[in-house]
Assembly symmetry: C2
Homo-oligomer: 142 residues x 2
């Protein structure tokens, strides 16, 4: 069986944090807000094309990340989307938002200005927290 490959553009946009139950977890390199990207191991291209059971499992992983964003990072709002017009590989955006972030209330796609990078210590802490809270199996690669 061929190893699952994450699309090069997603790897370029994000830090690869590890593996959740259904999906690989990336964190967008722009640290202005917590923008997670989940890449499920499926050949399907659209979330709504999936059968209900795998779809629910994938969305449960997204909900775990959303819970982390709200409970641990203290953000009041989470945007959730499956777009994939540019990168066809199925990937799900789970984005913490607040009225103080640099592109509120616009959606992040195409609107988030360049921002700071994550410090290595911060990425490490996020990985530890997510492994404890969401069962992330960390396989961090910058």
């Amino acid at each position: 069986m061929t190893e699952f490959q994450i699309h090069a553009q997603l790897l370029s946009d994000g830090h690869r944090l590890g593996r959740m139950r259904t999906s690989h977890l990336l964190l967008h390199r722009n640290a202005a807000l917590p923008w997670f990207i989940l890449v499920p191991e499926t050949p399907a291209l659209d979330l709504l094309d999936l059968d209900p059971e795998p779809r629910s499992e994938i969305i449960a992983d997204c909900a775990a990340i959303s819970g982390y964003i709200k409970a641990e990072l203290g953000l009041p709002k989470v945007n959730f989307a499956a777009i994939g017009n540019v990168v066809p590989q199925l990937h799900l955006h789970v984005v913490g938002r607040s009225a103080n972030d640099p592109c509120w209330p616009a959606p992040v796609w195409g609107n988030l200005p360049p921002g700071p990078s994550y410090r290595l210590e911060r990425l490490h802490t996020i990985c530890i927290d997510l492994s404890r809270r969401c069962g992330l199996r960390v396989s961090w690669a910058e």
Copy 2:
């Protein structure tokens, strides 16, 4: 029990087509592409805050609309999102996309230029097709 109220901005943006199993169904007035908006009857503001069972039922309604977009309207791609930064009431976007549409590959939010309106006959046909295919209970209001 107070009757569920759809947010005035959503009613302004879309034609109200009727009721699915979990959600009210609206169709964005810009007919350049099929942009459906589902408004579930829930006080929750974020999709990923819902419990798994009601969430799955709501997403099943979204998947039915997505199936209609692909099978009946012939569009190859569906964007799916729960944003709600401007209108806080939970609402889900299910948007048919193709490389020929007026804002491809950008997401529709904030990027879709003004476009044509639906003709009444076309709205009627869409309602009939959705009632047959997706169990829409039509309560059409322009």
